[in-house]
Each structure stands twice: as structure tokens, then as C-alpha cells.
């Protein structure tokens, strides 16, 4: 039998078999849908987290980052000496440098005096370093010593942050002159940007120290060579990483060392196993109940691919049948999460394709585990 008509016949018989007991089919599809929904939510949150943890760095153009050797991740930075940027320039590989400061500060909403915490970011003239158009546009507004830009994606707990609003950082009154969009969801309730010169005023920090030095290389210079040169030139209390290394390390630390990533991975494994187990369970019952029918097909001379194909088609239909409601409900939940948290959890084509691939893999695996039993269907036992 040709492949396409064979496949169509398998699917037709498989569908008829599944539809024979509708309540049980609905229950099975619900279970598979719930497992796939869990998987979808976890994959989406994990992906969103992977993107979000490097959100600030993604707003900057740089090839190399010079960090204090005690740097852990964005919320635990330390400082380097601003002289280190001069040293970097002296290596000959560097086109330009940029000082980036970050510090967790007290944020007081006015007039309520409600206190929260805020990540204060200090920047130099954007030059060629800042990618984000809102930050570039806002830079011009940051003329006065009390001017700041506020992250429009800050959590509601920080209070009103529209341009024109006043608030307090530490003991200093500040004035919001513009906004940018960042949403440092896992790190801070809110973020603000100030010029570096004002950053030190707000934090009482030492102007000779900076948190992170960003470096752009001259055209044609390889980041790895530049990194090696900078390590030789810079003091031993610095950590020099290429952009790729920094982003990789940031994600690895958050997702592999911190427990949230581990928990999400474990939940994903559980959800996958559950989905596969439900398909195995339903298929096992189906095969057991229909051994006589399988034996009859064999007695009639049906090819083995056809006989096996019915079972595999049932597995596939179950997987796909559970996938559709999982995606629909998942998209609704994740849209809600995205709107509330500004995490990018919208369900797009790539996530849908991932889920399709997972669901088919689970179906095939489950089907393969059960379908060998069909071998035992013996036409001789029909008499």
C-alpha cells in the first residue's frame, strides 16, 4: 500500500477507535493538555528569564566588559577603579570605553513616603554604547543634577513614575524627566537612570570607582585577543569577559546555580513524564481491548506498518489533541503574565513549534513503548 493512503487509513481507524469512548477520550486529552500546559508555562518562563536576566546588558553595545573580580551578577557587582578604563585604552585594542554604575538604593514615593528599593543605573554620554532609543533620547533630559529617567516597567509598588513626578533616592529629592523600558523583573522592583556625575551624589559613592567598564574594540580586533591583552594589562582584582562570556555567565548563574532555574527544569521533566505516561496508559488499554481486532487485521493480511501505524496514529492524535487546548489556555495565561510583569512570555510561532516537537516526541516514545504488544495479536486465536 502506498504511504499516503496507508497513513490516511491508519489515522482514520485510529480516530474511530479514540472517538468510540468519548468521555474517556476527553479525560485523556485533558490530562495530556494539563501536562503540556505545565510544560508550556515552564518553558516560556524559563525562556523569558533567560532573556530578562541580561536585559540591561542587551541595551548596550560593547565587546568586552571589565568587572570587579568579586562580580557575581547584576545585583552583586562591587567596583573597579576608573583608571582601569584608561589602562584599557592604552592597550591599543580599544576604540572607546564607557562607565556603567549600578547600585541598589532606597526609593521613597512622594508624598506618601512609602519606601521600596530601586536599581539606580549611572551612565556616561551614550555615544555609540547605548542601543536603547528611549535612553538615548532621555540622556538629553538629564541635564539637571536631580534629573532621572524611570523604568516604565517598574512594579506598581514603587509608585507613580510618569515624567514630572518627584520622588526621593536616599535623602535626595529627584525629578523624573523621562522613561525607558527595561523591567528588571527578577532583580528589582524598579530601575532608574541618572548621569554618572549625579549617581555619585545620590549614592554617596566615590567618583573614582565604577561598577562595570564597557569596552568597544577597534575594527578588526578579535575579542579573544583583546581580552587576553586586557587581562595582562589590568590589575588582578578585575575580571575581563567578552560580551558573549558575560551574557553566558549571567544566564548560567541565574538558571543553573540559582534554584529557580533548577526548579523549572525539574517541573518540566515531571510534566513531560506525566504527559507521556497518560498517553502510554490510554494506548495500553486501547491495545489490550482491541487485540482481537489487531489479530483480525493480521488474519486479513494487513501489513505490519498498517497494524503498528494505527497505534502510533492514536498516540499522535492524543498528543496533538492535548496540545491544542494547552496552547490556547497557555497563551491566555502567559499573555496575562506578560502584561503584569513585562516578561516576554507571549506565545509565538517558535514556542508553538517547540511544543509541537515535544508533543510529537512524547507521543512517538509512548507509542513505541506500547505498540510492540500488537506483535502478540495472534490471528490463530480467533478460532
Amino acid at each position: 500500500m502506498d504511504a499516503l493512503p496507508l497513513a490516511r487509513s491508519c489515522v482514520a481507524v485510529a480516530a474511530a477507535n479514540l472517538l468510540q469512548h468519548r468521555l474517556r477520550l476527553v479525560a485523556a486529552l485533558s490530562g495530556i493538555a494539563v501536562a503540556l500546559l505545565l510544560l508550556l508555562l515552564q518553558i516560556s518562563v524559563l525562556e523569558a528569564a533567560r532573556t530578562k536576566v541580561t536585559a540591561l546588558y542587551d541595551d548596550f553595545n560593547f565587546d568586552i566588559a571589565i568587572l570587579p573580580d568579586i562580580y557575581q551578577y547584576l545585583m552583586s557587582v562591587g567596583t573597579i577603579n576608573s583608571v582601569d578604563l584608561e589602562i584599557a585604552r592604552s592597550t591599543g585594542d580599544v576604540a572607546d570605553t564607557f562607565g556603567l554604575n549600578v547600585e541598589n538604593v532606597h526609593w521613597m514615593e512622594l508624598p506618601s513616603k512609602h519606601m521600596t528599593y530601586n536599581l539606580l543605573i549611572g551612565i556616561d554620554d551614550p555615544g555609540s554604547f547605548v542601543r536603547d532609543p528611549d535612553i538615548r533620547a532621555g540622556w538629553a533630559q538629564l541635564r539637571s543634577p536631580h534629573a532621572i529617567l524611570a523604568d516604565a516597567y517598574s512594579q506598581k509598588s514603587v509608585g507613580p513614575i510618569s515624567p514630572g513626578t518627584d520622588a526621593q533616592i536616599g535623602d535626595t529629592r529627584v525629578h523624573i524627566v523621562g522613561q525607558f523600558k527595561l523591567g528588571l523583573f527578577f532583580y528589582a522592583e524598579g530601575a532608574t537612570i541618572a548621569r554618572n556625575v549625579n549617581f555619585y551624589g545620590f549614592t554617596g559613592g566615590d567618583p573614582s570607582l565604577i561598577s562595570i567598564g564597557l569596552v568597544r574594540l577597534k575594527p578588526g580586533v578579535s575579542p579573544d585577543k583583546a581580552r587576553a591583552d586586557l587581562i595582562k594589562a589590568l590589575p588582578s582584582n578585575t575580571l575581563v569577559l567578552t560580551r558573549d562570556e558575560l551574557l553566558h555567565d549571567e544566564r548560567a548563574y541565574f538558571l543553573s546555580t540559582k534554584p529557580v532555574g533548577i526548579m523549572l527544569y525539574i517541573s518540566m521533566i515531571i510534566a513531560s513524564l506525566v504527559g507521556a505516561a497518560i498517553i502510554v496508559q490510554v494506548l495500553s488499554t486501547e491495545v489490550s481491548n482491541r487485540m482481537g481486532e489487531y489479530a483480525m487485521f493480521k488474519a486479513m493480511g494487513a501489513d505490519i506498518p498498517f497494524v503498528y501505524g494505527i497505534g502510533m496514529a492514536q498516540a499522535g492524535l492524543l498528543g496533538l489533541g492535548g496540545l491544542v487546548p494547552a496552547i490556547v489556555i497557555g497563551a491566555l495565561i502567559l499573555s496575562f503574565v506578560a502584561l503584569r510583569t513585562h516578561l516576554d512570555t507571549f506565545v509565538g510561532p517558535s514556542l508553538m513549534m517547540t511544543m509541537l516537537a515535544i508533543s510529537l516526541t512524547l507521543s512517538v516514545a509512548a507509542g513505541a513503548a506500547v505498540i510492540r504488544r500488537v506483535q502478540r495479536a495472534d490471528p490463530a486465536e480467533l478460532f
Binding site: G31, L41, D69, M75, S76, H248, D249, I266, T341
Partner: protein
């Protein structure tokens, strides 16, 4: 025992392997619920660990310190004010800061960093305001000069650290004088401990992060609390460790959608358990459809057969719960080891989970009963 309950029990007990398999199906949902609950409680317990470990009846902190993960310190002088309050036996300062610990193995874990941030707690080795180990050895270890005690439950990113080794803390080599047991949280990866004397040698201007207040024997907690509040400066807050815990839990749940995420996971577990229970009961009924039809033909009512199914559903809720609970203990222990968080089965939640499992299995039984109603005695001829 009624005939239908007896029949239901016998049908399940007859094939023990099958009963195990059916229980395992229901147990899957139970494991999911306990693992998600374990995650949630593990995170909350870890975040509030310092409050839980305090060996005193009150904690005194800077009012601006909104949760236990911020650095607002309290002047030592303000802490000493409380020593004179009647009913107070001791006010024990706890210092906290973050340090860089250099990996003695040369840095080989997740990324390229050799120096790892670690939280340092410093306190009196005699008073021991935090319960992080057996008092006698802890006290002895803390008293050693130029040394620190390492939290054995820190995440493995610090390398292999054992007592007797020299390890750089803030680039100064110090001896590891002992091991404590505390554990990290979702923000901090590890802890070290030092005596307050040792700490103040290094940071003479250091201020405590909080004070742990221990009451005199027989002192009335409420009365002392009122006195403490009355004598507290305006920038100081006084709360019990339980209150600090509750505040921390609130703050943690607000900061991240973990409540929603894990609650969804628990609901998913319950749904999966219900569906699995229904599937196994459905299969059970299908396998015995002829027998059920015969029983109907003999003159038993539908409600008799429904009782047989519901008996099986209830038994499965119990065996599924027990199986799931056993697996959850191991699952949670495994996740605790991976994450270094205090993830475990909370038996207080156990009774609620059992009720939920019973309800879900009864629902499954009610759905499966429809299958029994389809058993047609006329089809037996």
C-alpha cells in the same frame, strides 16, 4: 462490612501488582502537588531562614529594612539601649555583610568566576544568637583567631572546603575552623560565620544588621514587647521571629510570581491525579463490564455498583496518597540537595492534600460510574 464495599476491596486486592500500578497513577498527581508545595515552602523558608534560626524572642532592626535581604544597619548604641529593659536577659548583635570567597580549587564551576560572593554573619561565640550548629563545637570554632566557620550547606560553587584549610576571604587567607549548617536562599549562595570580635578587628566601623533579644526566664513576652516598643528609637522596629518570617513571606510572594506559578502547578497535579484515577477506574470497569452487567442482571441496583466503584475510588485515594507521599519525600530530598533549599514535605499540608486527593478521586469515581451504567445486562445474551 457491606457487600459492595467488600466487593470493591476484593476487586482491588486481587491483583496486587495492578493495584500498585493504579496507585502509582494516582500518586503522580500527589507527587506533583507535594513537589510544587515543597518548592513554594522551600523558597519561603529559605528567604526567612535567619528569622527562623534566631535564638531569641525578638528581633530588633532598622525600620527602613523592608525585608531580611536588605542592608540597612542599626547603630550598635541603639541596641545596647534595650539591655536595660526589664525582662530582657540579653541583646545580641548580629553583623552581616557580603564578602568574596576565593575558590580554593581555582574556579571550575558554572562560569569563569574564581571569587564568589558569600554572606558573612558575625556574632558572639558565647551567646550564639543564631542556631547554625551544635553550640559547643560552634562556639569553640568561632573563638579561634584568624578563622571562619563555613556553611556546609552552601551551594557547590565555592569549591571543596573543609576544616583546617586556608581559604581567602576578601583576599585574606583565613583558616576554616569548622562547619555550620544553615543553607542559602534564592538570592545568596552561601554563608560563613565569624566571631563579632574577629569581625570588628577587620571592620571597626561595622554596625549590626539586627539584634536578637533573649528574655529572662519567666518574663512575660507581651509585656516585654510593650516595654521594648516604648523605649525603641523612632528608626527601630521590634518584631518576633514569627512576625519577621511572615513579613518576609509576604515580601517574597510579592516580588516574584512564584505563588501563582506553584499554585498552578498544584492545581495541575490535582487535575492530573483526578484524570489518572478516572482512567484507571475506567479501565477497571471496562475490564469487568461483563461481570458488572451480570451483577445487574442478578438484580443488584445501579447504586450498588456505584458503591463498588466509589469504594475503589476511595481506596485508591488512600493508596495513591500514601505512595505519592513516599515518593515525594525522596523527590523533595533530591530537589533540596540540588538547590540547597530547605525543600521537604510539610506534614501540616499533608491533611489538606489528602482531602484534596480524596475529593478528586471521588470525582473520578463519579465520572467512572457512568461507564458502569453503560453495562447492559441485555447484551449478555
Amino acid at each position: 462490612m457491606s457487600a459492595q464495599v467488600l466487593l470493591g476491596l476484593r476487586l482491588l486486592w486481587h491483583d496486587k501488582l495492578r493495584l500498585l500500578s493504579m496507585s502509582a497513577s494516582v500518586a503522580v498527581g500527589v507527587v506533583i502537588i507535594f513537589v510544587e508545595l515543597g518548592f513554594l515552602w522551600g523558597i519561603l523558608d529559605a528567604q526567612a531562614l535567619v528569622a527562623t534560626l534566631a535564638r531569641g524572642q525578638f528581633l530588633v532592626m532598622n525600620k527602613t529594612r523592608a525585608d531580611l535581604h536588605h542592608w540597612d544597619k542599626i547603630p550598635a548604641a541603639e541596641l545596647t539601649l534595650f539591655n536595660g529593659v526589664p525582662g530582657v536577659a540579653k541583646v545580641m548583635p548580629v553583623y552581616e555583610d557580603h564578602y568574596g570567597l576565593t575558590d580554593p580549587d581555582g574556579g571550575r564551576t558554572v562560569d569563569s568566576h574564581r571569587i564568589r560572593r558569600v554572606i558573612l554573619y558575625a556574632f558572639s561565640p558565647i551567646d550564639l544568637p543564631l542556631a547554625v550548629g551544635d553550640p559547643a563545637p560552634m562556639s569553640a570554632a568561632l573563638k579561634m583567631a584568624d578563622s571562619f566557620v563555613f556553611d556546609r550547606w552552601s551551594r557547590p560553587i565555592y569549591g571543596h572546603i573543609v576544616p583546617g584549610m586556608d581559604v581567602e576571604l576578601d583576599k585574606v587567607p583565613l583558616q576554616v575552623s569548622g562547619l555550620a549548617t544553615m543553607g542559602p536562599d534564592i538570592v545568596n549562595d552561601g554563608n560563613v560565620f565569624m566571631s563579632d570580635t574577629e569581625w570588628l578587628k577587620r571592620r571597626p566601623d561595622a554596625q549590626p544588621i539586627m539584634g536578637v533579644v533573649r528574655l529572662a526566664p519567666g518574663a512575660d513576652v507581651e509585656e516585654v514587647r510593650q516595654r521594648l516598643l516604648a523605649s525603641a528609637p523612632s528608626d527601630v522596629t521590634v518584631m518576633t521571629p514569627q512576625e519577621a518570617r511572615a513579613r518576609e513571606n509576604n515580601s517574597t510572594l510579592k516580588a516574584a510570581p512564584i505563588g501563582l506559578l506553584f499554585a498552578l502547578g498544584m492545581v495541575a497535579g490535582l487535575v492530573i491525579g483526578t484524570i489518572n484515577c478516572y482512567q484507571v477506574l475506567y479501565t477497571e470497569v471496562s475490564d469487568h463490564l461483563g461481570q458488572y452487567a451480570t451483577v445487574k442482571a442478578m438484580g443488584f441496583s445501579d447504586s450498588f455498583l456505584n458503591g463498588v466503584i466509589l469504594t475503589q475510588a476511595l481506596v485508591l485515594s488512600g493508596t495513591g496518597f500514601a505512595t505519592g507521599l513516599l515518593f515525594s519525600i525522596f523527590a523533595d530530598a533530591f530537589v533540596a540537595w540540588l538547590t540547597r533549599l530547605p525543600i521537604q514535605v510539610h506534614l501540616e499540608s499533608g491533611s489538606l492534600v489528602l482531602l484534596a486527593v480524596i475529593a478528586s478521586c471521588v470525582l473520578a469515581g463519579w465520572m467512572a460510574v457512568r461507564r458502569v451504567e453503560a453495562a447492559d445486562p441485555a447484551a449478555l445474551y
